[in-house]
Structure formats: C-alpha cells, structure tokens
C-alpha cells in the first residue's frame, strides 16, 4: 500500500469508487469531473459521462477546465444542444447519477452555490445555479463532493440552490420529489451518508489517519458518526498512478495554450 498521498487525492479516489459500471452519470466540472474520469479509467470503463454542455458519452484524455472544452465534444458519442440536454436527457429520466460539487452544504445535504449573506446585499456573490437544481431533482441519485470545513459545512445556509433532503425526514417526498436524492457526500476527511429515517448526514467513513475530532471541528453543526464508523480503504497503487497521470496530462495541456 502507498502511504504517500494527499487528502485531495484520497477524496477523488474515494468518490470514484462509488460509481458503478454501466451507470449514466451527469458530471459537474472540477472535483466531480476528476472523480468520474478516474472511475472511467479504472474500475468502471463502461460508465457514460454526460456534461451539461451537451456532450454525452465523453471520454476526455485530459480533465476539462471548462464544461465545454473541445476535448469533451471531440471524444463524445454524441453532442446535443443544451435545450435537448436538459429537456430530453435529464428531465426525460435517462440519468442514473448526478455528481455535484458545492460551495456550502447543510446537515440535510441541501447545497448553496448562489450567495453568501443576504441575496439582495450579498457578502459574497457565487456563480449561481447552473444546471444543479434540476440535476439534483431529475437524476435517480446524487453524489456530492467537497472539502470538509466549518465554512463549507454550515448550520444554516444563506440560500438553498439545490435541494438535498430539505428539512429532513419525509420533506423531500412531501414537496413532490420522487427521486432518491443524495446518497453520499465525499470529503477530504471521509464519507457522509444520510440517516435512513431523519435524513441527516452521518459520517460513515473516515479516511485513514483522520480523527473523529478533526471531522467534528471541520463541521459547522453537531456532527453525528455511525455506530460502526469505518476507515476508508487506502488508495491502491493503480488508483494513484492513474490519477496522477491524469492530473499531469491535464496540467500540461492547460499550460500549453500560452
């Protein structure tokens, strides 16, 4: 086993393991894209990756910087218009997993990518919704990936951009949502999963070397831990090699366009 790896690499690798071969995955840019492509290059070669720019079944050799890099359309099975993407493919019910990042998250896996502070007089104006609200409600299941810190894992969101379990319990179903919602939140410290009844996020895995106190201090609410808290399996040599090669190719490609 390889003991030399970063927490960011561990996060990407842990997330990649939650994808399954044959799934159709709607991929957000950044961390979700890194994890989904790592999965495609290791354990799930037949995964179908979709980016909201309209590229379906894309197989990029380097990670895209933007959601619409040429690499995505040149390696796609098909490229469709953006209205077709959202209407037929996403709303049409053809996507198994929506894979999202976030700026902030609360205990019920609601996410904020819109604004910090008052909407009309914001402290920090974030980019906004993009495709996320409808990805979160039209895919069968959702994975969320972000680094765990008390600034990102907050007691109260300023703004809910994309619903997780809303107020918890059955509130998601009562609001009329019929999909499963978030099934896991993967961080640089471990993995959180919703409690089957309350829907509150519970820390079920810690990555090797991470302590309970560390996870608690990095969370803005009173974090709960699973009774059988597990340690994430260490990255394999293959996972690390493939991820590092991918990152190296990517850095080279993006620096090349001077």
């Amino acid at each position: 086993m390889n003991a030399q790896y970063s927490s960011s690499e561990m996060m990407t690798i842990a997330a990649s393991r939650l994808l399954q071969n044959g799934q159709v995955c709607f991929v957000g840019i950044g961390q979700p894209s890194a994890a989904a492509n790592l999965a495609r290059l290791t354990s799930t070669p037949d995964i179908v990756l979709i980016y909201e720019s309209g590229t379906i079944g894309t197989k990029p050799d380097v990670l895209p910087l933007s959601i619409g890099d040429g690499e995505l359309s040149e390696t796609a099975d098909l490229v469709v218009s953006v209205p077709e993407m959202f209407r037929y493919w996403l709303q049409g019910g053809h996507v198994d997993i929506g894979f999202l990042g976030a700026a902030q998250i609360d205990r019920f896996a609601n996410i904020n990518t819109t604004v910090i502070g008052d909407y009309n007089n914001p402290k920090v104006r974030l980019p906004g919704a993009g495709g996320a609200p409808e990805i979160s409600t039209n895919c069968k299941e959702i994975l969320i990936i972000l680094k765990q810190s008390s600034r990102a894992f907050v007691e109260q969101l300023s703004f809910i951009t994309s619903p997780g379990f809303m107020e918890g319990g059955d509130s998601r179903e009562e609001a009329g949502l019929t999909n499963k919602g978030p099934v896991a939140v993967i961080t640089d410290l471990g993995v959180l999963e919703p409690d089957p009844v309350t829907k509150e996020l519970v820390m079920t895995h810690l990555h090797d070397g991470v302590t309970v106190d560390q996870a608690r201090e990095s969370t803005g609410w009173d974090l709960k831990f699973a009774d059988h808290l597990q340690t994430t399996e260490l990255p394999t040599d293959e996972e690390l090699k493939v991820l590092r090669d991918l990152n190296e190719r990517t850095a080279k490609a993006h620096a090349g366009a001077e």
Binding site: V79, F86, Q91, L126, A129, G130, E134, N138, H254, A257
Partner: protein, 284 residues
Amino acid sequence: MAKITTLKAAVSELIDNGDSVALEGFTHLIPYAAGHEIIRQKKQDLTIIRMTPDVIYDQLIGMGCVRKMIFSWGGNPGVGSLYRFRDAVEKGWPQPLEIEEHSHADMANAYEAGAANLPFATLRAYIGCDLPKYNRTIKQIECPFTGEKLAAVPAIRPDVTVIHAQQADRKGNVLLWGIVGVQKQAVLAAKKVIVTVEEVVDKLEPHANQTVIPGWVIDAVCEIPGGAFPSYAQGYSTRNNAFYQQWDVIARDRETFSLWMERHVLDTENFAQFKDSIGVRSVA
C-alpha cells in the same frame, strides 16, 4: 436577408442603447469580438442575457454598458469568480447591476419557448430551490391533465442575439458544429440577429444534421477570424485556458482592469488589433 458587413457597422446599426442583447455561446463559440465592439461603441443601459455569462460579460459590466443581467451561471469556468460582475453586485461598481437569475434548465426552455413563439415555457424544476423566492418571473402552474405542479417561466425574446459560428456562405447562410449550446434557439427567438464567423466560404458543405441557420433569419454576418478568442471554434482553434486563468488576475482589481480594457480594447480598432496588442496572434 443577411447582409455581409463589418462588425462595426452591424453593432452600430443593429444594437441600440437600452436593448436586451443575448451574446450566446456555451463555452464554445462565444462572440468575444462582438462584445468588444459593443464596448468600443460605448453602448449603454443594456440588458444582457446569457446562460453562462463569462469573461466577455465581465468586461461589458465592468465597462459600464449594462443595466441588468439575466443569467443562470456567472463565473469564470474552471477558474472561479467574475470579479467585475461580483463588484457590480456586491459594491455597485461602476454602477449597480440588476440581476434576474434562473437555472440552466429554465433558460434553455425559455429560449426554446421564445423560438417557438410561445409566451412561456413549462418544465419540471425549482422544487426545494430558493430562486423563485427572489425571482418573481418564476411561477408554478398545475398541469391541466394530471394536476402535477410544474414551473413556468416567461419566454426569452432578445431584441438582438449575437452568436459566433464557423462558416457562412456569400448569401449569409451560417454553419456551426460541435457544442452548439442554445444558439439556434436564441437566434430564432430574437428580433434582430448578428453572426460573426471564422470565414466566409463559397459553398457550405454541412454533414447531415449539422446546424445550418439560413441567411433569411439573420440581419448581419461579419467575418472575424478567431472572433471567439479566448473561447474557441472547433475545427479552427482551441480554447485558450491560460487566458481564462490570466483573467482572474486582470479582473480582480478595478484599476488593473480599467487600464487593461483601455489599452487593449478601447485603444484598438478591431479584434485583430486587440489580439496583436495582447500578443496572441500565433494561437488564434
């Protein structure tokens, strides 16, 4: 019928102060040259519409051309914030910016409704999302057949849509391919249309199902090679990701931004000169 003309003439004749203008493009084929010409001509009081406002909208906002922005994701893709957009929203510089914010699915549907000459679009959206609390144009309706609650949003009908494409022929018929975004819908939804192209050719040779927009729904076609820089035109150029990263530094500070815009956009005559002035001719 499309007139093949200069970008200077097209922007001057077709875009008025106070117009709603959609310069569409989903990462690919973004009409940067046209955005610069709007800035050079100091258009004012515009409502700018776009799903993914990026660096060119940051420039329009920072240069004081814009009163309102209708959008669904405003960032520097893969890099971070649009600092001029943030400064306008957070601090009102150089002037306050009204925003009307949607999701991508909403805007894609709303453009399609505009193209279809419908008053509104309906979609399965916004449950559990706070946007409808702040954007009163997003309503909920009931399906007359099943009773399902659906979102309804007004159609987008820009005064002017501007897009960039790979090719036009001498009659002004336009061909584009690759990531085609929402451009066809935005063109058909608009009252007036400007298209910049990589090149004007004698004859278009589209593959089956490539997007062709006939010249008779376009007002002006302008040949601007590399006119999407730092975005790209598939088959002609690649996305200049390094520029998007550099923009993060240029736009962060008001003075740096203003000097950069003055030197490279206001003090140049056209897009070719702009690219010369920042030294990128070799990659465009």
